[in-house]
């Protein structure tokens, strides 16, 4: 396993080639290098996956130390990569889904003036993400963590000529900084406490601690703040809807499939710490489930197709946090994987819709697209069925496992909210589907002339992701459904040292029958919602507006996203700006600028004066020499 570095290295080569030569060699070169680099990474990852499955019966992990990165005093950080049953799942998702989306981008970004720049950023993103998931120390993980944040910022504001896009990029970056700050403080705590940042040594030292050790609780909470920022959970979720200003494949890759799930991965990676902090665990679960229901409710009334999907992403990640919060790490990772498939597909499908309508994103001006873009329609349907949890589709298995674990290991209330969220999810997804593909077309007829199915390079990725959205769940069919749950077995080695998990597998009194009952309840709710949506949006479109009028207050609150952006603006951003303004006018302009300019002036004039000493007369130079020597000797003698 000395070749682990091969996995990320190709994407880095892609960055260099496209970044330096992309403009010179043209779009064709870029189209081969960009997706090609990720494709190679994917192939190599497959080889490592097979090696891990077949060569490692005991489920050992492989760690490759690359080099001593920093050694200063007692801080020694080795840069190393880790390949275990946890990181390999992320690697496969990142390179696999990443590759598909790269290919799709070739069609989507066709003829964009920033084509080479786009693929440079995208490859850099894959590289940073691979560093994040393969890092074997907190510090290297943080490098990847910041790297993906940077790429996200660059890609959200990709079309930076429009101020809105640039602002969205800035918003994402600033909100993420708040989270990253927590993460960083967490790292400081870890280093102070364990004198190391290496996963292996930190976890082995931590596992001897008492459950509920306040230091561990503090560390896990701080790390969780980082996860909240990166994974867009309450209260730091506000950047993700705005991040939809970026190109759609970017939304699919970064803001749905991979980067935003990094927080979940981080918690699973640090499960040793989190299991020692029950308080943090319950906070994680509560934040997750509240985020899930909250953003799902916003999703029900949004009109922008990508914004609905953005709120849906926040909500689904909430599910994942719910899962890891109750200790069902495998379920969380399983949902992370299936979500990457179907949410990536949803975004790419939405991209195809937008592409076919020449940039229209408002669902009120769509409708009846089924006959124009059949491939997008069918693949999108699969994704909708997967996310709503229709039995047989991938999302069903993973979501069901989360809900069951919430009930079994957590609290029935968590389950109730989770199922309610599932109903909301079904509502907004079917609503989106009906508004977009079914019913009458509501777009202006002149646009009709341009409506066309996307080229093959975009539809084939849709079909691939459709395949996985449909069948990807079968590797994790739970025992109660007569499956083997290969996924859980695969992940077991990661958690084998955590006895606590073993102890809390299942409450004995929760029988199989109860599990079936809960499952059937959630399926029935989804089906009822489907019928309602069918009635409202296909048969009686007037009902929707009637409802909106009758419950106008609730409708407006939801449409305006609970006014959270406004609240943040009024209570945080504006006071901040005002205070900054005061500081700027008094402190900055008068004191700091005064001091800086004053210093600069003093230094400048000092420089000017000192320069005059440089007369050019060699006699004076010799004099300064001799004076210097005399002063030093004099000081030495008479001190």
């Amino acid at each position: 396993m000395t070749y682990l570095w091969l996995i990320p290295v190709f994407t880095l080569i892609g960055v260099v080639l496209n970044g330096l030569l992309g403009k010179k060699f043209g779009d064709k070169f870029v189209s081969w290098v960009g997706p090609g680099a990720v494709g190679l990474s994917f192939l190599i990852s497959c080889i490592f996956l097979f090696k891990l499955v077949f060569d490692s019966p005991t489920g050992d992990s492989y760690i490759q130390k690359l080099f001593v990165w920093i050694a200063a005093g007692n801080l020694v950080v080795e840069a190393g990569l880790i390949l275990d049953h946890l990181s390999v799942v992320m690697i496969m998702v990142v390179t696999g889904v990443g590759f598909v989306i790269h290919v799709y981008s070739v069609g989507y970004m066709h003829k964009d003036p920033g084509y080479a720049r786009y693929f440079t950023y995208l490859n850099l993103f894959i590289f940073s993400m691979l560093i994040l998931v393969m890092a074997d120390s907190f510090l290297l993980m943080f490098v990847g963590w910041e790297g993906v944040g940077l790429c996200s910022y660059l890609l959200i504001g990709f079309w930076y000529e429009d101020k809105k896009n640039a602002d969205a990029g800035k918003k994402a970056f600033i909100v993420n900084r708040i989270g990253d700050f927590g993460f960083l403080i967490g790292l400081f705590f870890i280093f102070i406490e364990f004198a190391s940042l290496d996963f292996e040594s930190v976890f082995s030292m931590a596992s001897s601690r008492q459950i509920g050790d306040p230091v561990i609780v503090a560390i896990t909470l701080l790390l969780f703040i980082g996860a909240v920022g990166k994974s867009a959970q309450i209260p730091l979720y506000v950047w993700l809807p705005d991040a939809m200003q970026g190109p759609t494949p970017v939304s699919a890759l970064i803001h749905a499939a991979t980067m935003v799930t990094a927080g979940v991965y981080m918690i699973v990676r640090c499960h040793v710490l989190y299991l020692l902090a029950p308080l943090t665990m319950s906070i994680v679960a509560v934040v997750g489930v509240v985020t899930a229901v909250y953003s799902a409710s916003i999703g029900t009334v949004q009109n922008d197709i990508k914004r609905v999907l953005a709120y849906s992403t926040i909500s689904q990640i909430g599910y994942m946090f719910l899962a890891v919060g109750v200790g069902a790490f495998t379920a969380g990772m399983f949902h992370l994987m299936t979500h990457a498939f179907f949410k990536g597909l949803l975004f790419l499908g939405a991209g195809s819709v937008i592409h076919s309508l020449s940039g229209e994103m408002d669902m009120r001006f769509m409708g009846g697209l089924k006959k124009y873009i059949p491939i997008t329609f069918w693949t999108f349907l699969i994704a909708v069925l997967a996310i709503t949890g229709i039995p047989g589709f991938s999302g069903f298995f993973s979501k069901d496992e989360i809900l069951w674990n919430a009930f079994d290991k957590g609290n029935p209330i968590l389950w109730v909210i989770g199922v309610f969220t599932a109903g909301l999810t079904a509502f907004y997804m079917f609503r989106l589907f009906y508004l977009t593909f079914l019913g009458e077309s509501r777009f202006q007829s002149e646009k009709e002339l341009h409506i066309h199915e996307s080229p093959k390079i975009m539809t084939i990725p849709l079909i691939i992701l459709g395949f996985f959205s449909l069948f990807g769940g079968y590797i994790g069919v739970s025992h109660s459904l007569g499956g083997e749950n290969h996924f859980k077995k695969f992940m077991e080695p990661v958690f084998r040292n955590s006895e606590i998990i073993a102890n809390s597998t299942s409450n004995a009194e929760n029988s199989l029958g109860l599990e079936y009952l809960l499952m059937i309840i959630s399926i029935i709710i989804v089906l009822i919602v489907l019928i309602i949506v069918h009635q409202i949006y296909l048969k009686r479109p007037d009902i929707a507006s009637t409802l909106a009028k009758r419950f106008s207050l609730a409708y407006r609150v939801l449409l305006n996203k609970y006014y959270i952006d406004e609240i943040y603006h009024t209570f945080i951003v504006n006071p901040f700006i005002k205070i900054s303004d005061i500081f700027w006018k008094i402190f900055d302009v008068k004191i700091v600028d005064g001091a800086v300019n004053g210093t600069a002036n003093v230094i400048q004039s000092a420089g000017d004066k000192l320069r005059k000493v440089q007369t050019g007369y060699v006699q004076e130079y010799a004099l300064s020499l001799i004076l210097g020597a005399v002063i030093i000797i004099g000081y030495f003698i008479f001190r």
């Binding site: 050694a71 230094i603 060699v618 010799a622 020499l625």
Partner: protein
């Protein structure tokens, strides 16, 4: 008295001999115009042989000439630094050689003689040989500075350098004489034994001798207030010569300082920590402050090189306080190597930009370069970042090591002043970058053509600062081990 012929071990000065032979050959070949074009290839072959010989001598720790000359890893490492500097300079000299085609032989052999002098300074154990090396180096440089003899400023540079150099040679020789007078030897190990012995009281004359030696080399390494020659000479010399001087002479002087401090003067060196600290503060601050107001890029780099001597002096101060600290010594050597790459690199871009001599040297002339000549501009940006100490370049790691060695020796005030100075320096380094990328071009850069050899030199320098910036540890380990 009974004299015996000292044991001579010629293989100790193998690299020096190779460089000497190469220098003599190109000097002779220069007499035959038909064969002149071969001389540069001969130089490169000679340098490659010298590298090979260093590789051969590595770890052998040979001693020769009755203990006067030694080829320990310390000396060999400095030989490598000098040769890298020479190589990079020669790669940048193509244009200059073409302009002074008749002087090819002299130019190349003088550069090599200077290199030879530096190598001697690093690989000796005796004050007399150090002096010999220094004079070989200096005299070559006096001529090189005045090499463009049709230009007034070049002649002025050479003459000023010569007068002041000769003047300080007096200080240095007097210092050596005083030390010989009080200890009866010029051998550094014997001085060490004398100091350790303690049976004879160490007189004030010894200390004065030591200070005079520091003044002598402080002049070469451009410590304030012995720095006055630097801007005039750097500006007046041809730019490749300036690049060569800025890196090599400094490296050689610090090699001598390290050798003297770590061995010869080590028992009493902590007594001059205060003086060194004051010199360090003066050197950093004066260099940086005057660099800010410069508009000519060569002068700016001249003052910046003074400031960098100050940074290295910080680590030297730390070393004098805590002479056992291998880390301080390693940080000095690391910084010198990094400085060789980044400073010659920066001068390389200046050489590339020079239209004919002494044109296009204003910082404002670099406006818009980033869009017209992206490769040169990106190289310059990296060199400026490295000189300013911005990660991930090696300049950052170098400053980090230097300031942490000051902290390690509990010289907190000095470290703080050093960091503040680094902040001042960012201003004038980044100004170049701002001109390159954020201002409209005023010059038409069409006179610039691609120069593959120059690009090679710049690429080596860029590679050096990036590699050492990201993977500094292996080199630091090596440096700590050779002490």
């Amino acid at each position: 008295m009974d004299y015996s012929i000292p044991t001579i071990n010629l293989s100790v000065i193998g690299p020096e001999i190779i460089i000497l032979l190469t220098a003599v050959s190109v000097l002779i070949i220069g007499l035959f115009p038909n064969y002149r074009r071969w001389s540069i290839s001969i130089v490169f072959i000679g340098i490659i042989f010298a590298f090979y010989d260093i590789y051969y001598l590595w770890n052998l720790n040979q001693v020769g000439f009755d203990g006067m000359v030694l080829a320990d890893n310390f000396a060999l490492l400095f030989d490598i630094i000098f040769l890298i500097g020479t190589l990079l300079t020669l790669l940048l000299s193509g244009n200059f050689i073409n302009q002074y085609i008749r002087g090819t032989g002299e130019y190349l052999s003088l550069i090599l003689f200077a290199t030879l002098g530096m190598m001697l300074m690093a690989s000796t154990n005796d004050l007399i040989v150090i002096f010999l090396g220094l004079e070989t180096l200096s005299i070559s440089l006096y001529i090189l500075a005045a090499f463009r003899r049709s230009r007034e400023d070049s002649l002025e540079a050479g003459l000023k350098y010569f007068l002041l150099g000769a003047f300080t040679t007096g200080f240095l020789l007097y210092g050596i004489a005083l030390i010989y007078g009080s200890t009866g030897t010029t051998n550094i190990y014997s001085i060490l034994n004398f100091l350790k012995d303690g049976s004879v009281e160490i007189g004030i004359l010894f200390y004065i001798g030591m200070i005079l030696i520091i003044v002598g080399f402080g002049f070469k390494a451009a410590f304030v207030p012995f720095h006055m020659w630097v801007p005039d000479v750097y500006e007046g010399s041809a730019t490749p010569v300036t690049a060569f001087m800025s890196a090599g002479v400094k490296a050689a002087s610090f090699a001598v300082f390290l050798r003297l401090f770590i061995t010869g003067f080590s028992p009493i060196i902590s007594q001059i920590t205060g003086i060194l600290a004051v010199l360090a503060i003066l050197t950093m601050t004066v260099g940086n402050v005057i660099a800010i107001v410069q508009t000519n890029i060569k002068r700016m780099l001249a003052y910046s090189s003074i400031a960098h001597a100050g940074y290295i002096l910080v680590a030297l101060t730390a070393l004098s306080r805590n002479i056992e600290s291998e880390f301080s010594a390693a940080s000095i050597m690391y910084y010198i190597l990094v400085y060789t790459f980044m400073n010659i690199g920066a001068f390389g871009v200046v050489i590339y930009m020079e239209k004919s001599e002494e044109e296009v040297l204003k910082i404002s002339d670099y406006a818009g370069l980033g869009f017209k000549k992206p490769f040169a501009a990106i190289c310059m940006t990296l060199f400026m970042f490295s000189l300013a100490g911005i990660p991930p370049t090696a300049g950052f790691m170098g400053k980090l090591y230097i300031f942490s060695s000051a902290v390690e020796s509990e010289l907190y005030g000095l470290a703080v002043i050093g960091v503040l100075n680094a902040v001042i320096a960012v201003y004038y380094y980044l100004r170049v970058v701002i001109f390159m990328y954020m201002k409209e071009a005023v010059l038409d850069f069409s006179y610039l053509s691609a120069r593959p050899v120059m690009a090679l030199s710049l690429s080596i320098s860029v590679g050096g600062i990036i590699y050492l910036g990201i993977f500094p540890q292996s080199l630091i380990n090596l440096l700590t081990n050779i002490l």
